[in-house]
């Protein structure tokens, strides 16, 4: 608890302003979640009529019942897991050694190579050339294509490279004197010392893979390969075209809106489960103590 007596008048005012701003920000980020969850548990009619504000109206599980009966939902859910896990592993397999190499002083042409990597952050080929490239590589409508194509991300490489660069040179030298080769220096010293940075990058990869939508939609045709996000989009498109849903009856148990909300809720759950486990790796200060400043 804060001891208000320790704060001057100006500090108190500042603390209040900060608290209010943070409160507003919290509400602004939290409300969409609550709203979507509330809609997903409401009746189709209530949702369509705009009655839902904070809590479910005419609470029902019909929307969930509708989606779990759809085999395509489970297929795309599984695909999202494959893309997320496979893609993240693939990314780490490229990013970690890449960042390590770029962080080493002894790398010839290091400045140029670093510039080369950073360049891709500001300039890329653009939609059509990228698509044509994927086509010519025979990676259209291929699950492996999706995993491979987005594995390397310049921002993540630079982030990790900077972290590696900040690790004192003497750790590498000590390991070399101890007999370690490059691979062992990376594996036994740099990776354990970089857990917080690698956890951050892993989280970035997971989130971007989990939410990946646009390129999956462009590159994948077969229904059995699409991820959840693309399935969500198909569902929205189908339901709004479907006569059965077009006019919402007063007694409609679910609607396009509640089904969409239910899919979104389902897609958020794994992220909510995984996040706390990764977050604990965002610890700082693992470097303290080994080197005397």
């Amino acid at each position: 608890m804060m001891n208000w007596n320790l704060y001057s008048r100006g500090d108190k005012f500042f603390a209040i302003v900060v608290s209010v701003l943070i409160g507003m920000f919290t509400v602004a980020t939290l409300y969409p979640f609550i709203y979507i969850a509330a809609v997903s548990f409401s009746s189709g009619f209530a949702a369509q009529a705009g009655k839902v504000v904070l809590t479910p109206i005419d609470a029902t599980l019909e929307a969930y019942g509708y989606i779990i009966k759809d085999p395509q939902f489970w297929i795309s859910y599984r695909n999202t897991f494959i893309y997320t896990i496979g893609g993240t592993l693939m990314s780490l397999a490229f990013i970690i050694p890449g960042a390590y190499a770029l962080s080493r002083r002894q790398l010839k042409g290091r400045r140029f190579l670093n510039l080369f990597v950073a360049f891709t952050m500001w300039f890329n080929a653009g939609l059509i050339p990228f698509f044509l490239n994927m086509r010519d590589l025979n990676l259209l409508d291929s699950m492996f294509g999706i995993i491979l194509a987005f594995a390397v991300n310049a921002f993540n490489i630079i982030l990790l490279r900077n972290f590696f660069e900040a690790i004192p040179q003497s750790f590498e030298e000590a390991a070399r004197m101890d007999g370690a080769n490059d691979f062992q220096v990376l594996w036994k010293v740099f990776i354990p010392l970089s857990k917080p940075a690698i956890a951050t990058i892993t989280l970035f990869c997971i989130v971007s893979r989990w939410n990946g939508f646009f390129w999956a939609m462009v590159l994948l045709q077969s229904e059995e390969k699409i991820p959840l996000q693309v399935f969500l989009r198909h569902t929205i498109a189908n339901l709004s075209d479907n006569d059965e849903f077009a006019i919402v009856q007063t007694d409609a148990a679910f609607s396009a809106e509640t089904v969409t909300a239910a899919i979104i809720v389902c897609s958020i759950i794994p992220v909510l489960i995984v996040y706390p486990f990764i977050q604990k790796y965002f610890e700082k200060g693992i470097l303290l103590g080994g080197v005397k400043e």
Binding site: P168, M177, D178, G179, K188, L193, G289, K292
Partner: protein, 358 residues
Amino acid sequence: MSGVNLSGIVKAYGAVEVVHGINLDVAEKEFVVLVGPSGCGKSTTLRMIAGLEEITAGNLMIDGRRMNRIAPKDRDVAMVFQNYALYPHLNVADNMAFGLRIRKMPKAEIATTIADVAEILGLTNYLERRPADLSGGQRQRVAMGRAIVRHPKVFLFDEPLSNLDAKLRTQMRAEIKRLHNRLGVTSIYVTHDQVEAMTLADRIVVMNDGAIEQVGTPMELFNHPANTFVAGFLGSPPMNQMKGVLTEHGAKIGDTEIKFDGFANGQAGRDVIVGIRPEHVTLAAGEQTSALPIELDLVEPLGSEALLHARFGNDNVVFKADTKGDIQHLSGVGEVYVPAPLIKLFDAETGHALNAKG
């Protein structure tokens, strides 16, 4: 031949040469200390021996094998770093085992080796701790343990004690000496602390500006410095150096002539630098002593001795006098005495010793 052998070792960073052709033979089991002012190339030389720095030119031999292009791990040398470089994510035991595991030593053997070394270094109770939870002295010991467990041919130390406080430094210095006596491993030790150099070394190598000024036992260097640089570097306070001119019976410094026979024959008029060690002067005249008239400026008592800051002609000088704890009678001192054979002469231009022995 065993030991470490440097011949014509040069290090250049691009166009800048920082080590200019060093020749040095370190015998097996010898403890050699490299000293010199900051930036003189001590670390660079040591790191070339370790293999952490490429050798630009010259030959490095360890145990008779040319090592210039051999990777650090295959040179069979171990290094203790100034900042210890202990792996923060590993506990003490794992830090020491790191190199042994990489070298695929059997588990049981690793365990006994570590237990033995921990015993020697008094680390037995700390094996499970991470470096962050150790004191400076304990970390230092772990760093040494990591070098010792490997039983290397050569130990390299780069200012291993400079991060410790004065008391601990003295203690660890003695411990390093004891370890060396016990293990008898060829050691090359870098420091800029002349006391460490004097106490630890079998032989001292004084470096300056990327070159060796003099090599010798601590007492050789102290008593017979080859030049004014070494004379000024070793000893605390350093040797007093005064410009003078040789005369028939001694040397003239400013208006004062100090007398010492047996050197200047036929060289009268030559410009020299006269060197007098602070601890060589006495307050009373004795046999063969020359008198130095001084103007006492400041007295710093050190216990049974005192430092006398004084003016001698145009020079500021510092002498160390044995006072037996009584500094009262110093106030009136107008003259001190130095045994003539202990006076050093250096060429005024080159700085080379003129009356050095050997």
